[in-house]
Amino acid sequence: MGVAYLLAMKNFSGKEVLDILFTLPLVLPPTVTGYYLIILFGRNGLVGKILYEWTGWSVMFTWYAAVLASFVVALPLMIKATRAAIESVDRNLINASYTLGHSEFETAMKVTLPLAKRGIVAGAVLSFARAIGEFGATLMIAGNIPGKTDTVPISIYSHASSGDWSKTNLMVIFFSVMSGLFLYIANRFTKRIF
């Protein structure tokens, strides 16, 4: 949310670069995102190495990795939605708050964010839906260990490729209904305007 606020409210050099950096996972093939994550968090990766040296533990092929992959892939949606929601708040109101003696932080908490709330919640719902549906990047860094790192989309893949159609169908239906529900909730939040 902090990043989105910066992107929406401030002008600074490198702003667009930052925006692109946070949007990239949205357009990159999931395998590419997953590959970057391996480079970063793998046992010999930039962050992973430090982590391994300090704790003797690696995030790779654990359910944390699945969470991390989902988070990275869903983040762009969250930031995009939040940025748009903050930018849509009337500049007059923010200026009014400033002239009434309220600091930028107070204004953000009492005016900007409450008014952007709907857009932000809608973004959160969408990105959550995106996160649980994550497949490619998760497969790259968390693998497919039954009972440990097999997320619903990955199980669907496993069941389908081993010909277990009844389980596949059940999970597909479950997933479709749930995603539809999320979209419905997201729409409800975006449409109702003050």
């Binding site: 007059n92 400033y98 009434l100």
Partner: protein, 366 residues
Amino acid sequence: MGLSVKLLKKVKGFTLDVEWEIGNEVAVLFGSSGAGKSMTLQLIAGLLEPDSGFIRSNGNIFFDKSSRINISPQQRALGYVFQDRNLFPHMTVRENIAYGLKGKSREERDTRVSDMIRLFRLEGLEKMPPSEISGGQKQRVALARALIERPKALLLDEPFTALDSSLRFEMRKLLREVRNEFEIPVILVTHDLEDAYLLGNHIMIYIDGRVEQAGERDEIFQKPQSRKVAQILGLKNLFRAKVIKKDEPLRRFILEVNGLHFSVPTGLYQDRMEVEKEVDLFIRPEEVMILREEKLVKDSLKQNIFEGEILDITDKERYHTIYFQTTEGKILFEISIPNYAFRNLNLSTGKMARIALREESLWVMA
């Protein structure tokens, strides 16, 4: 005392360059849109930063480029009311007004807010969201919120533009009350002539980012400095004229418009006018006299008498407007006369008549 500013601000294709000073009075920034009026308010409030200059208010320095002072908008805490969309839609009327207060104990907040609600006649609306109150009520809430901390100046950016005329009347009255209650400079930005005339003690005419003329209201309306000012004020009877003669013994300039001669005293214009110069001539519609046929003409009027025809008459509630065209030169005059005078004159469309202009009511812009 009051507010004094010197502002220079360049943005794409536009430069604002103004310097003025006002007391604890209502000053009107008047001009067409894009002249830099709203920008001036934003600079004063601290929402924009000037490229150079200063902003001082009753002994406080808000901004001074040369000593690198730039107080934040929060600390300037000037009352600021926009044209519309002032109120926080997620707060009630009461919460909106209370938002203007900072710190303070609960009891003090409550009494202060209640005082403002009473002063701005908002009783009964306290718990309503802004979406459920009228436009006039919204602007009253915005004013109450802007004034609750007793700001050092009040900035109003076209605050009545979005309201219909009966509400504007009420808001003007309210603003006069505000001026008496809070002794602070009030700067009103408007492009509405009536607002400017009825509310401004002091008027500044903005044209293309500069103050074209500033002064007391009556002076501005009676003695505009240039054709631009006269046009922006919507003044009628504005003629392009040429100085053709200086009559030394009679101490008069003779001006020509379409072959018709006008005479004005030299005194006022001595150093600004010379023979052959092109000037603008202006006479207020209510200063044009229609002569009654039987009446003898006074000597003081004899210089500027013209014959012509009445083309049209319109009834404007409190006065009549007569459109008069001179026989020679075909100059069109707009003449305003009060209804009682109109009835005595027995005028009708198509009738021939004579008009007289007092020399003192002719105003020449050189």
